[in-house]
Structures are given as structure tokens and as C-alpha cells.
């Protein structure tokens, strides 16, 4: 598959997963939930801009670069907040474990898709040196 198409394929899945999680909100309304919800929403919107961009000009430009940054850095920030939201929810028995497991699976799935998109992003961007400032270390291996 062409690199741009491959990126679009993975990002569409991430967008769908983000939608599923957002549809489930609110679960346990508090500051942390509000934060990761905002990040999910922002990530979804950034993906849409990338998808539009890939359709119009299937090559790296400033807009796609900026929004890939938002997607990857947002995903990392969102994971940190979600994981601690989950810990506090578990410690306090505020959310049932099935719900927490379901959310965890969806967040991990998003990360997995983003990791799988990385080789195509390297190819699309024209090399490692252009993308390592977008893609955090733990999405690159």
C-alpha cells in the first residue's frame, strides 16, 4: 500500500476508536476525565485535518506535520492521564472493572495503530530525521 494510504488507514481506525471512547463519556466526571476527553477530541479533529490533507496533496506539508504532532504527542499525554484516572478509579471502586478494561483496551488499541503507522510516516516524510520530533520514542520501536 502507498505510504499515504497506509497512514490514512491507521488514522481512520484511531479516529473510530476515539469516537467509541468519547461516546461512552462521562464515566466518572472529574478533572482527569475532562482532560483526556479534550485530548481525544483534539486528536480526532487533527486526524480529520490530516486525512483531508492526504487526499488533497499526498506529500508532507506544514499542516500535516503540525497535526501529526498533535496526534502523537496528544496520544502520549492522554495515556498518562488516562492511566492515572484508571488507578484512582480502581483504588476508590468508582468505576467497575469491566468498564475500565474496555477503556484500557481502546486506548491501547489506539497506541498500537499509531505505532503501526510509524514506518509509513517515515517513508512519507522522507526519513527518520523529519519524524523523530513528531513521534515519541515509545511509538518508534
Amino acid at each position: 500500500m502507498h505510504a499515504a494510504a497506509e497512514i490514512a488507514y491507521h488514522l481512520r481506525i484511531v479516529q473510530g476508536l476515539a469516537d467509541r471512547v468519547l461516546d461512552r463519556m462521562p464515566v466518572w466526571e472529574n478533572t482527569m476525565e475532562e482532560r483526556f476527553t479534550m485530548l481525544l477530541q483534539e486528536k480526532k479533529e487533527a486526524i480529520q485535518i490530516i486525512l483531508n490533507g492526504l487526499r488533497e496533496t499526498p506529500e508532507m506539508n506544514d499542516e500535516i506535520h503540525k497535526n501529526l504532532h498533535i496526534v502523537y504527542k496528544g496520544d502520549k499525554a492522554e495515556k498518562l492521564i488516562f492511566e492515572q484516572w484508571k488507578r484512582v478509579a480502581e483504588q476508590n471502586n468508582f468505576v467497575n472493572s469491566d468498564e475500565l478494561d474496555w477503556l484500557e483496551e481502546n486506548f491501547q488499541e489506539m497506541k498500537k495503530e499509531l505505532k503501526e503507522a510509524v514506518p509509513s510516516i517515515h517513508e512519507f516524510a522522507g526519513g527518520w530525521e523529519k519524524t523523530r520530533f513528531i513521534v515519541p520514542a515509545q511509538y518508534r520501536e
Binding site: T31, R35, P136
Partner: protein, 745 residues
């Protein structure tokens, strides 16, 4: 030779005569007092404060007076130890220990790459050690997993300074507390955590009536008792208070329009957020009267000069970084920065945690360099003569995230240097289980709670037995000379790190050793080159000058050899896109901003008003856990008592943990002073005696965090939360919910 005639305070062992006094610096809190070490027959026998030292003028903290005692402790480790097949630590040679460490490090690097190895260091080491950790970690092991106990201490300082002003480095200095009309101590119990600086403020106040003191703290601490205005707000509401104060200052036009127009950006964005914050709303959330909040706003809005200090009451609370940003905002809207008696003085907790941040042993790249800026990575690659692509840019992971990576089996080699996480980390049960997973190296002069999970223990030299520099909380670099040789069998941290690099065969791109220096002074000289042209430029310093001048503040260059008392005197900030230390983060969601987004903001030398949206605590008191749990320090102890627990005078003052309870709460629960109480949080529980009184407000309790061991000593961190501030990743240790159960005598 005794090179000083008068020492303000001397504490020397009974019946001893001093052979010589050696120049040093106190190794406890972040004030950085100049000290001389008393030596006789290659043994430390006492300490004295240096009268000429501008920081302390001869004075010493109570703990500092005895800090040489642990050096002579009989239970010091004098040989490495390796855990045997039976699970016991047994003595080993340095050869055996280093061989095992290097073998394990190589195995993990081969298997997992840089993502598998982590170094967790300290805020009590030397700049030269931190610089070496940064170089070995980044260019040798190619990891981004460098963190330190500074994460529990001053990570928030770094982030709030980067966000507002473009780089780390407190804008003000201790000299400014001598000139300020008003000082606000926000979440900062200086009377117990920075006694010498506190003494300096109180002496002036008693002599002149100045400064007007505002203290923000839920507890009636010794600091609060001296306040002109004490704001004993509800836990977790710091930012609610500051948002209302910012709003009041703006609405009343107590702002410096010229300064704002010429030297800042984004006030309009901030106004949209703080417009919602009336005094009445803040009063409802903080529990403070409207009169008190109004008075605070008036004082802060009208004072001619203002220094605001912060410490763990901010950094370890919810909205930590945004609270500090609100304080920076107040200084910016009033134009009270970069001039005498003015500026935020975000403190550090430990004696050299600032130094670790500055040289890149933790946090961003050395010399306030931006890991997201390819030009800065190229700079470092050239300075270290390594390939740019070998420098992992991360981002770095804080210790709480590192615990997750241990749980998942990702981190398999964990090197713990001069810190005791199995007392100091939150949610101890989780921390213990996580640390049992990787191969753990602990570098500590004593067996600690953390050595219980160590595979190898390395015994390092202590204060007075090694040479190097430290950076205190106001950018002063002090040199510490070696007073005596370390005991036989012990090596300095620096020697251990250099030896590790040699055995790992870390090379530069020409095949020469990556670590080419062999003494701390040579390391400092190399570091100076790395600092050149950066905010923390130290090219004008030498060890000899640092001793002769009793410390120098950075930046210190050939053009400015005396160093800078305060930053931003020309009101030009470090926010140029290719100079700044980071592009910053969204202050609410914490998502890192891209270069493009930073360029769109276009600060270009102007400071940034950051929007300070209130979040508040996640876990709050409720029916089954009706109290707020607060934790913190005592004047008598330092961190986990590895050193102060070996000072009989300090142990006598505070031998065990306790819980402070409000008298009304105690009466309702039929708890008498001294009776044993079980405190239960959603994570764990401890049993401690009660101290009943009026220090705490109703519904709040306080437990000191210094205590805890595997033999049942009560550890407050069994109960604390492993939640972190989203920007600085500093754990929220200051509030959790809990309940009290009376046990009785």
C-alpha cells in the same frame, strides 16, 4: 590551615582540636549555605558556617550542624554487595559488582535498546555527577529514561519557568528578599524547610517592619504564625484563590500597561478565563472569607515590590504548574520582575536539584536545550562529538510513568543513585511491586528500604569526602572541596560513573572514550563549554573563583564575571523560537506544543501569560474517607532520614511519625493527645500517635513523610496518591482522602 578567623556558628566534637577547615557547602536544603568542614587526622569532626558567605553569613540550619555525624556512622557500607541465589545481599569486590552491572546493562541494551534502561538520581549530588549521568545516559545508553527524585521536589519549578519565560532559572535571587516590600510564601513553610533564609527575612522584619508577609498554607505552621496575612485555604484550591486575585488586579487596573504591551503576550486569552473568577466564587471554593481574599489582592495589586516564593504546598498539590503560572502572571501584569525586590522565587527542595536540571541529568537537554529543536540536538552532538541520531530525544519519562514501564516489563535495568524511593514515592505498595521486577542497582552509603529490592548495592563517598559543585535555589554555584579521603572500600559517585562508562566502552564518533575527563574539575571545564551561550552560561566560573567569591550565580561569563543577581533586567525573555528551552505545553491538557504552534504565538523575547484554568483535586473526602490527608517535612529531618536518622540530636527531637488532628475532630472521635490512631486511605493505612491541637483546620490531618521501613515504621506514602501534575509530572502528595480510627494507647 584555619583560613578564616571567625566562624559564626561552629559545631565541633567534644574535646577535639581542629587540624584544618576545608571550604564546602551545606548538603541538606536548597538554600546552599557556605560551610567549612572541621578535620582532624583525616576525620570530619565538625562544621562551621562561613561568615563571609553572602547566602548564610555564618548561620546554619539545625540539621546542618550535625550533618558530619553520619559520615562516621558505624553502619556505613564499605564494600559493594550483590544479592546471592538465596536472596541475601552479600559483600563483593568492586570488580565483581561493576562486572555484573555492566553485563546486565549490556544485556538489556541489546534486548530492549535505550527504552529498557533507566537512571533515577538525586537532588543531593554534584553538578559534575549529573552532567556525567546526562552524557552517559543520552549519548552512551541512548535512553530517554533519566529521572531523579527532583521529580518529587522541583519538576514544577522547571516547567512553570519554561512556560512563562522560555527557560528554566529563577528570575530573582535571595538578595531580593532583603529589598521586597511584600513577600508572599505560597505553600512554602520556610520556617521549617529553609531556616537560614527564613531567619534572614525575620531579622529584617523585626528591625524595619518590612516585608509585609502573606502566607498561603492550609496549616498554621511556624511560618504562618509570623504572617501579616495568613490564607488557610482548603486543600487543592490554590489556583481558585489565584484566579480571583488575578481577576481583581486586572479589573482594578493595578496593572503595568507599558510592561504588558512591550514585554508580554496573551493577556487577553488569560482575561477570558479569569473573568469568571469573582471573589465570592473563590471564597466558596477556598473556604477563605471574601475580606481576606480582597485584602490579599489589594496588597499584591498595590505593592511596589514583590517576591513570591513557592514550594511543595504548590508543587505537590493539584494544578501545581498552573498555580505557579498564575504567580508568574501576577508578576508580569504588575511588571514586578527583573528589578530589585521583585520576581517569582520558585524554590527547590534539595541542595542541588536545580543543578541536575541545568546540566541535563534530568529533564531537558544540557544547558536548557530544547529536545524538540533539531538545532539544539545538533549542538550537543557536535559538542560531544557523537552522531546526532544516537541522541534519543524522548520525551523523558517521570518516575511514576517509569513504574508503569517496570510493571509492563519494559524497564529492565534501573540504577538508583542517592535516593530512597521505597520511602519517598507515593502509593508504596505499588512502588514496591514495580521495583521488584527490574535489575536494580542502588548507590547509597547505607542499607535503606530501597536496598531491600537491590540486586547490587554500591557504597559511595559522602559529603566532605569528594569534590564538586552544587547549584542552590537562586542559581548560585558553590564549590565543595574534598575535606578527607573516603573510607577504604568506598568510591565517589563520579568515579563510579566514569568507571561504568569505561567498562561499557562508550565512544565518541572518532573512537575516543565518550567520557574523556577523569576529575570533577575537568568535568566542570567540559560542562562550561556546553553551557556557553545558553541561559545558564558558566564560562566565567572556575573552582578557584567559586571558593574565593563564596559562590557565583549564573549566567557568569567573561563579560559578566560577577554573575547575575536577577534575570530579565532588560525585560527580554528567553522565548525566541531557536533559543527557548521548550515550545511548552497546553496548560490544561498538557499536550506538548509543536514548533509551528509556538511560532504562531510569536513570543519572540516576550513573556507569556498562560491561561490558568482551575482543575482541582481528583480524590476528595467523602462519607467513608471524610478527611483530607496532607504530608510534609519537619524541621528536624531530611527526606527519608538516611542521614538525619543517624543524628541522635535530630532523632531525639522527632523519633517517630505522628498525625496532627484538629482539636474539634479529635473530640468528635474521642481521640486524646498521644493516643494511637489508624489512618486509612483508599491505598493503605498506618498507625501513629495523635497530636491534637489547632495547627490543622477541621477535616484535615497531617503526617510527616520522613518515616517508614519494612519493619513496620509508619510511612505516610502508604496512603498517598500516584497521580501526577499533567505538566510537570510531579506527584500530588499533598492531598488524598482518608479516615481516622481510634486504636487507643
Amino acid at each position: 590551615m584555619d583560613h578564616r578567623k571567625v566562624l559564626h556558628e561552629q559545631f565541633v566534637a567534644d574535646n577535639e582540636t581542629v587540624d584544618k577547615w576545608i571550604h564546602s557547602t551545606c548538603n541538606l536544603c536548597s538554600v546552599g549555605c557556605g560551610t567549612d568542614i572541621a578535620v582532624k587526622d583525616n576525620k570530619i569532626i565538625g562544621i562551621g558556617g562561613i561568615d563571609e558567605h553572602p547566602i548564610n553569613k555564618g548561620r546554619l540550619d539545625p540539621k546542618a550542624k550535625y550533618q558530619w555525624i553520619p559520615n562516621n556512622s558505624k553502619d556505613r557500607l564499605l564494600t559493594p554487595m550483590i544479592r546471592n541465589d538465596q536472596g541475601d545481599l552479600e559483600p563483593a569486590s568492586w570488580e565483581e559488582a561493576m562486572d555484573l552491572i555492566v553485563r546486565k546493562a549490556k544485556e538489556v541494551l541489546k534486548d530492549k535498546g535505550g527504552d529498557g534502561v533507566a537512571i533515577y538520581s538525586t537532588g543531593q549530588g554534584f553538578l559534575e555527577d549529573y552532567y556525567t549521568i546526562g552524557k552517559i545516559g543520552r549519548a552512551g545508553m541512548e535512553t530517554h529514561l533519566l529521572d531523579a527524585n527532583t521529580r518529587l521536589c522541583t519538576a514544577t519549578t522547571e516547567w512553570c519557568l519554561i512556560e512563562s519565560f522560555g527557560s528554566d532559572g529563577v528570575p530573582t535571587s535571595f538578595d531580593d528578599v532583603d529589598e521586597a516590600d511584600t513577600i508572599m510564601l505560597f505553600g512554602h513553610n520556610m520556617a521549617e524547610t529553609g531556616t537560614v533564609l527564613w531567619d534572614r527575612i525575620l531579622r529584617r522584619k523585626k528591625a524595619t517592619g518590612k516585608p509585609y508577609l502573606i502566607v498561603v498554607d492550609p496549616r498554621r505552621t511556624p511560618t504562618a504564625k509570623e504572617a501579616d496575612l495568613h490564607l488557610d485555604l482548603n486543600p487543592g484550591t490554590n489556583l481558585a484563590l489565584l484566579n480571583a486575585i488575578q481577576n481583581k488586579i486586572v479589573n482594578n487596573e493595578w496593572i503595568d500597561h507599558d510592561f504588558i504591551n512591550n514585554h508580554t503576550i496573551q493577556l487577553d486569552e488569560l482575561k477570558q478565563e479569569i473573568n469568571k473568577w469573582t471573589i465570592a466564587k473563590a471564597s466558596q471554593i477556598t473556604g477563605l472569607s471574601e475580606e481576606k481574599i480582597t485584602l490579599a489582592a489589594e496588597k499584591l495589586g498595590k505593592t511596589e515590590s514583590l517576591v513570591t516564593t513557592t514550594l511543595q504546598g504548590v508543587y505537590q498539590a493539584s494544578d501545581a504548574t498552573t498555580t505557579c503560572l498564575a504567580i508568574n502572571n501576577i508578576h508580569l501584569m504588575r511588571g514586578l520582575i527583573g528589578k530589585p525586590g521583585c520576581g517569582p522565587l520558585h524554590m527547590a527542595g534539595q541542595p542541588s536539584s536545580s543543578g541536575n536540571r541545568t546540566v541535563g541529568g534530568v529533564g531537558t537537554y544540557p544547558g536548557n536545550r530544547n529536545p524538540n529543536n533539531p538545532k539544539h540536538i545538533q549542538d550537543i552532538a557536535a559538542l560531544w562529538n557523537v552522531k546526532e541520531e544516537d541522541l534519543e530525544i524522548g520525551p523523558n519519562k517521570g518516575i511514576i510513568k517509569q513504574l508503569e514501564l517496570m510493571e509492563k516489563g519494559q524497564i529492565q535495568f534501573f540504577w538508583n543513585i542517592h535516593t530512597n524511593p521505597l520511602v519517598s514515592l507515593p502509593n508504596q505498595e505499588r512502588a514496591r511491586k514495580a521495583l521488584e521486577k527490574p535489575f536494580v542497582v542502588v548507590q547509597d552509603p547505607f542499607l535503606t528500604e530501597t536496598t531491600e529490592v537491590a540486586d547490587v548495592v554500591l557504597p559511595p563517598a559522602m559529603w566532605g569526602e569528594k569534590e564538586g559543585t552544587m547549584e542552590n535555589a537562586d542559581r548560585t554555584i558553590n564549590v565543595l572541596r574534598k575535606a578527607i579521603e573516603p573510607p577504604n572500600g568506598v568510591k565517589t559517585d563520579f568515579e563510579i560513573l566514569v568507571e561504568f562508562a569505561r567498562r561499557m566502552e562508550f565512544k565518541d564518533r572518532d573512537g575516543n572514550p565518550l567520557i574523556a575527563y577523569s576529575t570533577p574539575e575537568e568535568a566542570f571545564e567540559e560542562w562550561k563549554k556546553v553551557s556557553a551561550g545558553r541561559p545558564c552560561d558558566m564560562t566565567g566560573m572556575t573552582y578557584d573563583r567559586l571558593e574565593k567569591e563564596n559562590g557565583l550565580r549564573w549566567p557568569c561569563t567573561a563579560d559578566n564575571p560577577e554573575g547575575k543577581t536577577r534575570l530579565y533586567e532588560n525585560h527580554f525573555f528567553n522565548t525566541e523560537v531557536d533559543y527557548c528551552q521548550n515550545y511548552g505545553k497546553d496548560p490544561y491538557t498538557s499536550r506538548p506544543l509543536s514548533r509551528e504552534e509556538f511560532e504562531e504565538m510569536n513570543p519572540n523575547g516576550r513573556a507569556v501569560f498562560k491561561v490558568t484554568r482551575f482543575g482541582g483535586p481528583t480524590e476528595q473526602p467523602r462519607a467513608d474517607y471524610p478527611f483530607w490527608l496532607n504530608t510534609g517535612r519537619l524541621i528536624w529531618h531530611w527526606h527519608t532520614r538516611t542521614k538525619t536518622g543517624r543524628m541522635p540530636e535530630m532523632e531525639k527531637e522527632a523519633p517517630e511519625a505522628f498525625v496532627e488532628i484538629n482539636a474539634d475532630d479529635a473530640r468528635n472521635l474521642a481521640i486524646k493527645d498521644g493516643e494511637k490512631v489508624r489512618i486509612v486511605s483508599p491505598r493503605g493505612n498506618v498507625e501513629v500517635p495523635a497530636k491534637v491541637g489547632n495547627i490543622m483546620n477541621k477535616g484535615e490531618v497531617f503526617v510527616p513523610f520522613h518515616y517508614g521501613n519494612f519493619d513496620g515504621e509508619a510511612n505516610a506514602n502508604e496512603m498517598t496518591m500516584d497521580e501526577v501534575d499533567p505538566l510537570s509530572h510531579q506527584p500530588v502528595l499533598k492531598h488524598a482522602s482518608c479516615r481516622l480510627e481510634k486504636i487507643g494507647k
